[in-house]
């Protein structure tokens, strides 16, 4: 068991190359003793003959080729699990840091998890009411969905995430328990504190499991943090039958850590220096959301990522969008105009909402209302582009109505208070009220039947 290897050959970035390793497996956890005091953890990421490349989670500073001993632990990185983890705080590798001692495990799980068999998945279709108009009506969140927030630095993504956590509820009351798993990767201490404080204020702190890898913690550790969080989530959801909301912030810091390791390994980069396997790697995180046939629990993921330079085509948001089931995009322009939440409606999308809204789930007019709001607001953008060239006064009557609709949509529909919890019915009615600014002929996404029932033209100002 405790064979130790001393023959260090090379140290570069977070990587350590050890020779003479005979009994170690791929992705096995190793313990590195430095200067006979203090140990660090690492993981074997490449092994050939007797040479092992080890990724050291806590970083390689102070390690020399002479002062360290490497001991394979005979197991992959595992997380001890029991229902006690609720209310606890762990570091990025899943070790308790709240001073309450270690968790007495009921079981241990490999943090890498295993892929869910598509045959065993249950298609998510219970909608979660968040009380946020733009999300409930336009990008409905579904239990078991992975719906990221694409943000930029300085935008209120944390506030939005907190508001979702605080207000999220299922329209159909059930007895099943819920819990929150929060993973911080490379975020500032005060951001983590903000989340903790918000959880405390809404009285859910005892239902939160936190995994914190803060900005000053070693970047390599970040590779494991979301995996620890999801392992905890899987345990709570599929073993204990709870409904789990997982918040992962900030996925951009995670991807950058991935890039850092990849480049110190000397791998061939693909776009913007990120490794070619980043898609698969991100998928191994995001795909750990969902529901399983025959189990009660669910995992809903809200990853937050900051788009470098607000660029949605940057590899991080791009690859994320290809895996997740939609995205909520925040917009700097709306933010600067004082709209909260500054959700950019057009590029935002929820892929799972199509099967979970409508008569049996929300209200019969939900899909029509959403689709018409999208279409009309898209037209607002065209009209605005025109107005910026020829001036608003020169617009046709219809186009002026669109300008008015656009303003009302942003100020009344999108904008809401940070503590305002709007019922879905209210939001839908509000949507129809705003659509009433436009003449009926302009509403081409809606069936006549629905229009007859819900469309209310604004006090006879028809053109």
């Amino acid at each position: 068991m405790s064979i130790e290897y001393l023959d260090l050959k090379n140290i570069s970035g977070p990587l350590l190359v050890v020779k003479g390793v005979s009994e170690a497996s791929f992705e096995e956890l190793v313990e590195i003793t430095v200067d006979e005091q203090g140990t660090r953890l690492g993981r074997i990421m490449d092994i050939s003959d007797d040479v092992a490349v080890i990724q050291v989670f806590e970083g390689t500073s102070d390690i020399s080729l002479k002062n360290a001993r490497v001991r394979p632990l005979g197991r992959p990185l595992e997380l001890p699990l029991s229902s006690e983890i609720l209310g606890r705080v762990f570091d990025g590798l899943g070790r308790p840091i709240d001073g309450l001692g270690s968790v007495f495990p009921e079981m241990k799980r490999d943090v890498n998890g295993n892929p869910i068999n598509p045959v065993s998945r249950k298609y998510p279709k219970d909608y979660i009411e968040t009380g946020i108009s733009a999300i409930d009506v336009l990008t409905t969140l579904i239990r078991g969905q992975k719906l990221p927030i694409f943000s930029g630095s300085g935008l209120p993504h944390n506030e939005l995430a907190v508001q979702i956590v605080r207000q999220a509820k299922l329209p159909r009351q059930e007895d099943s328990e819920f819990a929150i798993v929060f993973a911080a990767m490379g975020v500032k201490h005060d951001v983590a504190e903000y989340f903790r404080e918000s959880f405390r204020q809404s009285g859910v702190l005892q239902k939160v499991v936190m995994f914190l890898n803060l900005a000053n913690d070693p970047p390599v550790e970040r590779i494991v943090t979301p995996r620890c969080a999801l392992t905890a989530a899987e345990y709570l959801a599929f073993e204990l039958g709870m409904h789990i909301l997982v918040i992962l912030t900030d996925m951009s810091a995670y991807c950058e850590a991935l890039r850092e390791i990849s480049s110190s390994k000397g791998e061939i980069p693909s776009r913007k220096g990120f490794p070619g396997y980043m898609y698969s790697d991100l998928a191994s995180i995001y795909e750990r959301a969902g529901m399983i046939e025959g189990r009660t629990g669910s995992i809903t993921q809200i990853p937050i990522l900051t788009m470098p330079n607000d660029d949605i085509t940057h590899p991080i948001p791009d690859l994320t969008g290809y895996i997740t089931e939609g995205q909520i995009v925040l917009d700097r322009d709306l933010h600067q105009r004082g709209v909260y939440p500054p959700i950019s409606v057009l590029p935002s999308l929820s892929r799972l909402m199509k099967d979970s809204i409508g008569e049996k789930y929300t209200r019969e007019d939900h899909a029509s209302c959403a689709s018409q709001l999208f279409a009309s607001y898209a037209k607002v953008h065209e009209v605005r582009a025109l107005a910026s060239v020829i001036g608003e006064d020169e617009l046709s009557e219809i186009d002026k109505l669109y300008m008015e609709f656009g303003r009302a949509f942003e100020n009344e529909f999108l904008s809401q208070g940070k503590n305002e919890d709007r019922p879905l019915e209210y939001t839908l009615d509000l949507g129809w009220k705003l659509l009433g600014i436009l003449p009926r002929e302009e509403l081409d996404r809606v069936d006549d039947k629905i229009l007859d029932k819900y469309f209310k033209p604004r006090g006879g100002v028809h053109v």
């Binding site: 005979s22 170690a24 295993n114 598509p118 898609y279 795909e287 025959g294 995205q327 199509k354």
Partner: protein
């Protein structure tokens, strides 16, 4: 690169432990593990592309290169926990799929392991080294044997058949390469895939036991007599495809689009409604829930032709993005090989690959781990030849059994950043003849399918023109080009409107804008979730075009005679036209004549 070199230099070391293990069996031993790529020493007897069993858990792998006595193996399962020194066993067979009844209606992973038996053996999570039997030995099929003793048979000839699903008769064929005389046949009855149905005496005097179960290597196209000219369209019930950019049975098409533009939705619509006999749907590196959705929806949906559940003609291959990357690379080949097998029975197959970009990225990932010299954006230099080999397996053929069958390949492409100039889109473009470009702006305004009429094209138009003339209406193609012309003009006018506003355009140009809008909203946009609009027969597509042009031409006359278009717009005729896709059922062609009359009446009030 620096590190890799250093690892190779450190080959000499204490080999005692591994030698000990090697003595236990003759197998090769693992000497390097790097993600899904494993190297094994002592593999001088291994062949290229043969299947090997890696490690004590017998993970499935494939030899992808050989150097001295070291084999490089891509492993189709997760390699975590594998030790250097574990054995690698050769099977002598290339990576192959098992061909037998039971494929249709089933769902497999990328190397044809049935996911339902994996679930039975390992629960909801896919564990390493799990066994999955296909075909199941306890399933029996009622087989009718058509060959008689004394018949001369050769590869591809149908010698027996069984009803695989109510929709599909599974024809049991002599495997390609086998030729001889039937010496003994079993009576009709219930047999498992492993039972011998007949004996064939070969020219060399040996006997060949013909069973339902046959194998074929995935990377080798199944032979056919000859490729035939393409003549018929694959009818999909989607207006923008059938009318504007049709694809032929045996053709190839690509659907490129950034995330959220509706690639998967379009693929699902095609899988649901296209008039192929069998659909092979390969979910390659995509979302788990999308496959679950197919599994949930298809058994409930009915085929418009036969009224039977769609699942009875569908084969699913699911290698989701969290499943091992090497199996993702193989899944495309597994899919096309199954398609070829059914093509050889004389069926028309449509293969949807969603998404070929994930497959290309799997190639890139493996290539990167092999430290190959990359070409564009890290993709290997052989990307384009692999793509062309894949798309070349489409086509209409005369089979060895002298019937005709076809494979249509429709590949989704997920360009990075939605940028069509990236290598996978560009290389795909060279090998497909139909290009359905999805547009982000259209998707943002929820115009679905977001296939852009100006960036898309179909090279099958000329080939299929005759078919449309004979089977729908001889005006079909002329109407199509008239609509497209209006859309083109509209596009140019919109550019002007963007600069100066629409009010000052002359009335005839305003009419173009109105008709363009009617075409876009009333014809091109199609509601996948609307019970009537989700599938539209060609006849209705034609009538819709006709009535749009009818209105356009009538109004054009009026406008030319000085009647202001604003008055014509007040009649609401354009709005009515936009709604016919919902209000007219697919079996009500007579209502189009009535609508024309209404148009005449309403317009006559203005004169």
């Amino acid at each position: 690169m620096k590190f890799a070199a250093c690892i190779f230099n450190g080959k000499a070391g204490d080999l005692s432990l591994r030698n000990l293990r090697t003595l236990e069996s003759d197998a090769a031993v693992i000497c390097r593990i790097n993600g899904p790529v494993v190297k094994a020493r002592g593999a001088a007897g291994f062949r290229m592309h043969e299947t090997v069993l890696v490690g004590t858990k017998k993970l499935i792998g494939e030899v992808i290169s050989l150097e001295n006595d070291t084999a490089t193996i891509q492993v189709y399962e997760v390699t975590t926990g594998l030790y250097v020194g574990e054995p690698v066993i050769s099977t002598g067979k290339p990576l192959s799929v098992k061909l037998a009844p039971g494929i249709i209606g089933n769902i497999f992973d990328g190397i044809e392991r049935p996911l339902k038996s994996i679930e039975k053996n390992s629960g909801p999570f896919i564990l390493r080294g799990v066994d999955a039997e296909f075909p199941e030995s306890d399933v029996r099929w009622h087989v009718h044997i058509t060959a008689k003793p004394g018949d001369k048979v050769s590869g591809g000839m149908v010698v027996a058949e069984t009803q695989e699903t109510p929709l599909i008769v599974h024809k049991i064929m002599v495997p390609p390469g086998i030729e001889g005389v039937v010496s003994e046949v079993m009576p009709d009855g219930d047999y498992s895939a492993y039972d011998t149905l007949m004996k064939i005496s070969l020219a060399n005097g040996n006997n060949y036991d013909l069973k339902m179960l046959q194998e074929w290597p995935v990377r080798k196209p199944r032979p056919s007599m000859e490729k035939l000219a393409i003549t018929e369209p694959l009818i999909t019930g989607q207006r923008v495809i059938d009318t504007f950019f049709p694809i032929a049975k045996g053709g190839t098409a690509a659907i490129p689009g950034g995330f959220g533009t509706g690639k998967t939705m379009t693929q699902h619509q095609l899988a649901k409604w296209s008039d192929a006999d069998i659909i092979v749907y390969v979910g390659c590196g995509e979302r788990g829930n999308e496959m679950t959705e197919v599994l949930r929806d298809f058994p409930k949906l009915t085929d418009p032709k036969s009224g039977r559940p769609l699942m009875e003609r569908t084969i699913l291959i699911a290698n989701t993005s969290d499943m091992p990357v090497a199996a993702r690379e193989a899944s495309i080949y597994t899919g096309v090989t199954l398609a070829e097998y059914y093509r050889d029975m004389g069926y028309n197959i449509a293969l949807m690959a969603d998404s070929t970009s994930r497959w290309a990225e799997a190639l890139r990932e493996i290539s990167g781990r092999l430290e190959e010299m990359p070409a564009e954006e890290g993709f290997p230099a052989y990307l384009s030849s692999r793509l062309s080999e894949f798309y070349e397996r489409a086509g209409k053929v005369r089979t060895l059994g002298n019937s005709t069958g076809s494979i249509t390949i429709i590949g989704a492409v997920s360009p990075q950043g939605g940028d069509f100039s990236e290598p996978v889109t560009q290389n795909t473009r060279r090998f497909v003849r139909c290009f359905w470009g999805l547009d982000r702006q259209l998707a943002y305004s929820r115009h679905y399918p977001a296939i852009h009429w100006l960036s898309s094209y179909s090279e099958y138009l000329e080939t299929l023109e005759k078919w449309y003339e004979n089977n729908v209406d001889n005006q079909f193609m002329s109407y199509r080009s008239q609509l497209l012309k209006i859309l083109n003009e509209e596009d140019k006018l919109i550019e002007i409107v963007k600069l100066i506003g629409g009010d000052i355009l002359p009335d005839d140009q305003k009419l173009i804008l109105e008709t363009g809008r009617a075409i876009r909203f009333g014809f091109l946009q199609q509601g996948a979730f609307h019970p009537v609009d989700t599938y539209v027969p060609l006849k209705k597509q034609f009538l819709m075009m006709e009535v749009i042009l009818y209105l356009h031409n009538k109004v054009f006359e009026l406008v030319r005679n000085g009647i202001p278009i604003s008055r014509i717009k007040e009649l609401g005729l354009f709005e009515e036209i936009i709604r016919i896709k919902y209000t007219f059922r697919n079996d009500e062609p007579e209502r189009f004549e009535e609508l024309k009359k209404t148009i005449d009446e309403k317009l006559s009030t203005l004169i």
